[in-house]
Amino acid sequence: MVIEKYILAVITTNKEKVPVAPAVFYCDTIEEMNTFGANLEAILDGIAHKLSDDVFIIVKH
């Protein structure tokens, strides 16, 4: 199955702003969030998009 245009993961430092859907990674700092984002981007073959300063989503296009 090919997954396209789908949120694969959410990375955030803000516990209140996250949907109850895919894998969610809570991070303590923005730096940690960037590292998680870079790794997940490479692993999932998706792009880390920034929704707001404290929420990243990984989307496969």
Binding site: N34, G37, A38, E41, D45, A48
Partner: protein, 296 residues
Amino acid sequence: MNGFMSPIIVGIVAGVIIRLFMLRSDYRQYPTYLHGKIIHIALGVIAAGLGSIIVPALMQKDYTAITFLTIAASQFREVRNMERNTLTGLDDYELVKRGNTYIEGIAIAFEGRNYLVILTSLLVNATYIYFNIWFAILATILCVLGCRKLMSGSTLKDIVDITYVEPRFDGAGLYVDNIYIMNIGLPARQEEVLRYGMGFILKPKNFNVRTTIANLGQRQAILHDTAVALGVYRDSGTPALVPLAKRDLDDGRVAVFILPQEKDIDKAIKVIGNVPTLENAIRLPSKIDSNEKGLL
């Protein structure tokens, strides 16, 4: 040996010359290897043979022989399928895809070239039979010149003005001029994009061009050709590093964002300018007369 032998041979030779002339590895980057070329030369010889025997067959009053041309037509349509299948199969493994519109254009060109070979052979053969070999040679030269003129379509520099614009970030959004390209979240990725990325604005010269460069296939062709000519800073597993072309809905300008290995502005403008206008992307809205009856 009957009297038609030398005209037929001259016709075949002329056809093969034309086919070889049209088989240069050009901007399409295809075919580049010998086996690929041999397929097309072999088909060219067949086409030339068919073209050369039309006039002799008619002169011998062998009218039914003309029906074999229909077999030829289906044979060469097969060439188009073959090209389409090969190129589509290979496209999945390209870092920057050619796109179906481009592939279809190449496939059509390959089919069309075989018909040109048939026509050339027919013409040269007929000239030899009705005049002499010198006229046949003259006809060959005229055919080569004619093909050169006919087969070279227009390029982008004829229809758009190309200017370089440094890409920039507004928050996480990547912009070329005022046109939004994509959202890149990671700061490290943003730095890479700014370091390697180049932006170009294609401004349509008239209203018809707007629709042509809006075509997704045409835009993909631009990205593919620049990636071929300038290299691409990209690998599998780095989907954020992707060349993209987006459109300004207000005035039809297209922003092209590329990640070349070689950051040479003049060369890039030249390469984009030389991208062929894809036959399948050309639209001529101005040719539609809205007062015409039966329309709208």
